[in-house]
């Protein structure tokens, strides 16, 4: 699974996710990536979010939309909302990660797996990539 979230110089956010799913999947199984609100969501009032991992858990929690709702309704920061949802995912036994960015330009990532391919760049930060 791959994904990207961005905020542009006009303050608009967007999210995109794309995947081949899980190796050996059967019966037309679809995970969270294409489900708006589960693996992908964007709302200028809150954030843009893209998720990766055990999709069934992200679907059940509605992770991408839940992060935006917590930011919009409780004033939580992008970072804290991301952390809360990955923690909740872990409690349910789910594994995975997510990236998020708010209209204020703060970008974040959070994951509970040993590794996540990830990167970020901004108008005030050099590009950086990481795996572990």
């Amino acid at each position: 699974t791959v994904g990207a979230v961005a905020v542009d110089s006009a303050g608009h956010v967007a999210a995109a996710t794309s995947t081949g799913g899980l190796t050996g999947k059967r019966w037309g199984r679809v995970g969270d990536s294409p489900l708006i609100g589960a693996g992908t969501y964007a709302d200028d009032r809150a954030a843009a979010v893209s998720c990766t991992g055990a999709g069934e858990f992200f679907i059940r929690l509605g992770v991408a939309h839940e992060i935006c709702a917590r930011i919009r309704l409780t004033g939580l920061s992008v970072d804290d909302a991301a952390r809360e949802m990955i923690a909740e995912l872990g409690v349910m036994g789910g594994k995975g990660g997510l990236i998020a960015v708010g209209p204020d330009g703060v970008g974040t990532w959070n994951f509970n797996t040993p590794g996540m391919y990830r990167g970020r760049v901004s108008s005030h930060r050099q590009a950086e990539v990481a795996i572990y």
Binding site: T1, V2, G3, A4, V5, A6, V7, D8, S9, G11, H12, V13, A14, A15, A16, T17, S18, T19, G20, G21, L22, T23, G24, K25, R26, G28, S33, P34, I36, G39, T40, Y41, A42, D43, D44, A48, T52, K95, G96, G97, L98, I99, P103, D104, G105, G107, T113, P114, G115, M116, Y117, R118, G119, R120, V121, S122, S123, A127, V129, I131
Partner: protein, 171 residues
């Protein structure tokens, strides 16, 4: 707001230091850097977040390192079925596709659904037909297939106790 930010991911999983070969580690980092370049150039030039996320994901869909587009994992039946979604925060418009097999960039097909259809989510052969009708670039199934993903499928199918990649070994 005058600044811009792009964040990307290439999947999460059980990869740990030392499990990935140096070559795979380098290939992953190079793929991520290429995606940041593609999306960052758009934002640096004043382009939209929507264009930037599509451009970054397209680069990773073409990179066999990542499980999306070319280099996707196989289903138990030995096929490749891709899913993708895109969403614009300014109007909360969205497009998504699932189970597509002959469209080179599923994320661009999702954007075409968002922009030029009355729907949000199209699936299966219908989604691929929509792509052909809207001139979204096609690709033969062979374009998506890689030897390494075929090996991973064979490994999983050889172990009936692990019906699919529930351990996200190939996240």
């Amino acid at each position: 707001m005058t600044g811009w930010t792009l964040v990307i991911h290439g999947g999460s999983g059980s990869m740990t230091r030392g499990v990935l070969s140096t070559a795979d580690d380098n290939a992953g980092r190079a793929g991520l850097a290429a995606a940041l370049d593609a999306g960052g150039d758009i934002l640096r030039g004043g382009g939209s977040a929507l264009d930037a996320v599509e451009a970054a994901v397209r680069v990773m869909e073409d990179d066999p390192v990542f499980n999306a587009g070319r280099g996707s994992v196989f289903t138990a039946e030995g096929r490749i079925e891709c899913d993708a979604a895109i969403m614009d925060g300014s109007g909360r418009t969205a497009g998504a596709v699932a189970g597509v097999r002959t469209t080179r960039h599923p994320v661009s097909l999702a954007r075409e659904v968002m922009t030029n259809s009355a729907h949000v989510f199209l699936a299966g052969a219908g989604a691929d037909s929509f792509a052909r009708a809207h001139g979204v670039e096609a690709a033969e199934p062979a374009w998506f297939e890689t030897v390494e993903r075929r090996r991973q499928l064979d490994e999983i199918l050889a172990n009936p106790d692990a019906p699919f990649d529930s351990g996200m070994k190939y996240g």
